[in-house]
């Protein structure tokens, strides 16, 4: 062993670097840099892709000093529950300081991926003007910019390959941002603007597609009608991923035939989404020819496609690996998925009516899928009701779940048949799925479930709890048992100070903890903050519920704590107190 180690020490750094080149996962690289000083040094100079799961855990300056050659940066900002309106918009997560530091530090940034961050037009302009090799911008659930910022990117990034906007509300400034791509831009590989509300210049779009011969992925927004889509497809038969835009109107037979022909040309499409404003099902058969090649299908915004048409479409898709639908598909429709899509790995069923109308799916659909799709490993399922028996069956059928997220429309609904808590059902899931990394539970749940989670969920990294549990014991079981836990988010559950303070060191092994509408008091949060200087304990006081009068006994409405190397953040707004 020792001689092997000394051999490695004699390897010139270039060799080590070359070996490390094969390590793409940031976890592997993190592990490698812990081996010894020389490995740490070689690794840090060779790392080009950096992933930062919490933008406040580290500062831009320290990022650049450790990884001077960084070319690709992934940043996440707001806590996950910000997606559900639990965090005020201006809580934080600004990308501006990162871009400024990198510009100052001479970083050769090529790729930026942001999630739940605040991005301003100014940030986008900086990005476009200071990084000549910038190639790829991916924004997920971000906000704060307008189409002016997009225009800056389009105009100035000469080598832009990827512009991908997912689920973002972008203020439309009607500036024809798409027309800002110069005629010399031919490098686009991926363009996704499906979420934009505004109009785009169709002629510009068609010309852009025509000159970007390497375009593989194109997702257009609702403003692109079927006849424009058809012309675009004729120019880009090499597409692999298509977002159809509105797919609305009722075309005459001539337009329909043209669309059919265009679709038939696109023999490489394996991923399909869009159908944002389908008015009549008459156009759907045009996509049947590409259905048999599809591995990914996202119909979760296709509110206009009714259940029987949905099912007809899916019957053609026997290679599907990933399916996103609305619950209008119904249990019967899921039965068809189960018998057709034998390769299915990921399924997401979203609610079509937030208030739980008749369209919802039940435990039957889930059981059918688990029985028919043995490769299933990831599920997000919004349902009307659930039973323990169903979950136990699902656990038996599918032991390979990595992600299991269930949301009952009534958050505290018991087993629909026995009226018991759903502890046994979810317990079966964690017992059976030894590789489970992410879990969201809902329904009537007691501390018993959390005992099961603590005992069995050995690989669990992220857990979401809402309206569940009876006492501090529940939270304790989880914190004590789940050794790999990284993110814990809890809302409206009776966990309090005892659980919070039981094992304070645990939080340094995790990325973050969110607790809202629980029983935690200000005093306990202060204690925690005092004892653990490497944690930021933030109280969000957005509805003026708390006085700064320091009544330590008052309950804290929203608490978010996270480990950090750089102390309290300086950009916290007034309503955020870092204790």
């Amino acid at each position: 062993m020792r001689s092997f180690q000394s051999m490695l020490n004699y390897f010139p750094e270039e060799v080590l670097e070359h070996v490390f080149d094969f390590l793409t996962s940031h976890r592997d690289r993190n592990a490698v840099s812990l081996v010894c000083k020389s490995w740490y040094t070689v690794e840090r100079f060779s790392r080009e892709k950096v992933f930062i799961g919490n933008c406040y855990a580290i500062s831009p300056e320290r990022l650049i000093s450790r990884f001077p050659r960084v070319r690709s940066l992934t940043l996440k900002g707001k806590p996950h529950f910000a997606d559900f309106n639990l965090v005020p918009h201006d809580w934080g997560g600004y990308v501006q300081p990162w871009i400024e530091s990198m510009a100052k530090g001479g970083v050769n940034l090529e790729e930026l991926r942001l999630k739940r961050m605040l991005v301003s037009d100014e940030s986008l302009e900086l990005l476009a003007n200071f990084f000549p090799n910038f190639k790829s911008l991916v924004l997920v659930s971000c906000e704060g910019f307008t189409t002016d910022g997009l225009a800056a990117i389009a105009s100035n990034c000469r080598f832009l390959r990827e512009l991908d906007l997912q689920e973002i509300e972008v203020e439309d400034r009607r500036g024809q941002w798409l027309s800002c791509f110069p005629d010399s831009c031919t490098s686009l590989v991926s363009l996704n603007f499906a979420c934009l509300k505004g109009e785009v210049n169709l002629a510009s779009l068609e010309r852009l597609v025509a000159r970007c011969r390497n375009l593989r992925s194109l997702r257009v927004n609702h403003a692109v009608p079927i006849d424009a889509l058809q012309r675009i497809l004729m120019q880009a038969p090499q597409l692999v991923d298509l977002g159809t835009g509105s797919f609305g109107q009722d075309p005459d037979s001539d337009s329909y035939n043209k669309l059919e022909t265009a679709m038939q040309q696109c023999t490489s499409i394996t991923s399909l989404s869009g159908f944002l404003e389908v008015v009549t099902a008459r156009c759907l058969p045009a996509v049947y020819p590409i259905c048999r090649h599809l591995t990914s299908l996202n119909l979760s915004y296709a509110a206009g496609i009714y259940s029987d048409e949905l099912v007809k479409l899916i019957r053609h898709c026997n290679k599907l690996e990933r399916l996103l639908v609305l619950d209008t598909i119904g249990d019967k429709g899921l039965g068809v998925v189960a018998s057709t899509c034998k390769e299915l790995q990921e399924l997401r069923v979203f609610p079509s009516d937030i208030h739980g109308g008749n369209a919802a799916v039940t435990e039957e659909g889930l059981v059918a899928i688990s029985a028919g799709c043995p490769k299933l490993n990831s599920i997000l399922y919004f349902c009307q009701q659930m039973t323990n028996a169903a979950l136990i069956m699902v656990a038996k059928n599918c032991p390979n779940f990595i992600r299991f997220r269930l949301a009952t429309l009534n958050p505290t609904i018991p087993d629909a048949v026995t009226m018991q808590p759903l502890d046994e059902g979810f317990g079966a899931i964690v017992k059976s799925c030894k590789g489970l990394k992410r879990l969201s539970v809902s329904g009537l749940l007691t501390d018993q479930l959390f005992l099961y989670i603590g005992i069995y969920a050995e690989q669990l990294e992220m857990l979401s709890i809402a309206f569940a549990g009876d006492s501090d014991k529940g939270m304790f079981y989880v914190l004590n048992g789940c050794k790999k836990l990284k993110k814990l988010e809890i809302r409206d559950s009776p966990f309090g100070d005892v659980a919070l303070l039981e094992d304070m060191g645990k939080y340094e092994t995790m990325r973050s903890l969110w607790m809202s509408s629980c029983e935690v008091t200000l005093g306990a949060c202060k204690t925690l903050a005092q004892k653990m200087p490497r944690l930021n304990v933030e109280i969000i006081n957005d509805s003026d519920q708390m006085e700064a009068s320091d009544d330590d006994k008052q309950r804290v409405e929203k608490m978010y704590l996270y480990r950090t190397l750089v102390g309290p953040r300086k950009d916290a707004p007034d309503f955020v107190w870092t204790l």
Binding site: E169, T280, S352
Partner: protein, 186 residues
């Protein structure tokens, strides 16, 4: 900002209690309404107040951030619903039947497909229209359903896909079988 209303889980206050359920729903709905503050209830309580038939799914209660759907998606859904609600062409349409003294009105959006509609019409007018076939129409039946479309033409009900019918139907007329023969035959 109110995130949920605190309820007292005391049965005696039931009469004066504010509830989030529909009027006439029973106390089993209370379990859902009272979840916000009384998480410490025991499972025995659950059983006694909630019997199988009546523990129905949630009423339209509004809890911040539940179900956990991204606000982007929520907004898009709401807009899509607004659009489909305001899609007026083909909602309430007049229905006339040959020989009947007065017309009726029905909301065709309520029906999911042709069989549903035909059964409803048959019940409303106490007539029989038989089964649709592409070649023969409703040949042989006492009555046949027809409709006036956006262009003002009288069409046989059943030829076009349901969705298309709903958006293009302006009014319905239930024709006598003898007259309808002309429409059905090729």
């Amino acid at each position: 900002m109110e995130k949920g209303v605190a309820y007292d889980n005391d049965m005696n206050l039931k009469a004066t209690e504010l509830r989030l359920g529909l009027p006439g729903t029973d106390e089993s709905q209370k379990e859902y309404s009272s979840f916000v503050k009384s998480n410490k209830r025991s499972s025995e309580e659950m059983d006694s107040s909630c019997n199988e038939e009546e523990c129905a799914p949630a009423p339209k209660a509004l809890v911040v951030g539940w179900p956990p759907v991204r606000s982007y998606r929520k907004n898009v859904l709401q807009q899509q619903q607004k659009k489909s609600d305001s899609d007026v062409s083909g909602m309430y349409v007049k229905v006339s039947m040959d020989g009947a003294p007065y017309l009726r009105k029905i909301d065709i959006k309520v029906y999911k497909n042709y069989p549903d509609l035909l059964i409803a019409l048959e019940n409303m007018f106490k007539c029989s229209m038989g089964v649709y076939s592409e070649r023969e129409g409703y040949n042989g039946s006492e009555y046949a359903p027809t409709y006036e479309d956006k262009d003002g033409d009288w069409m046989l009900v059943g030829d076009v896909p349901w969705d298309m019918f709903v958006t293009s139907c302006k009014r319905l007329r239930i024709m006598k079988g003898s007259e309808a023969k002309g429409l059905g035959c090729q």
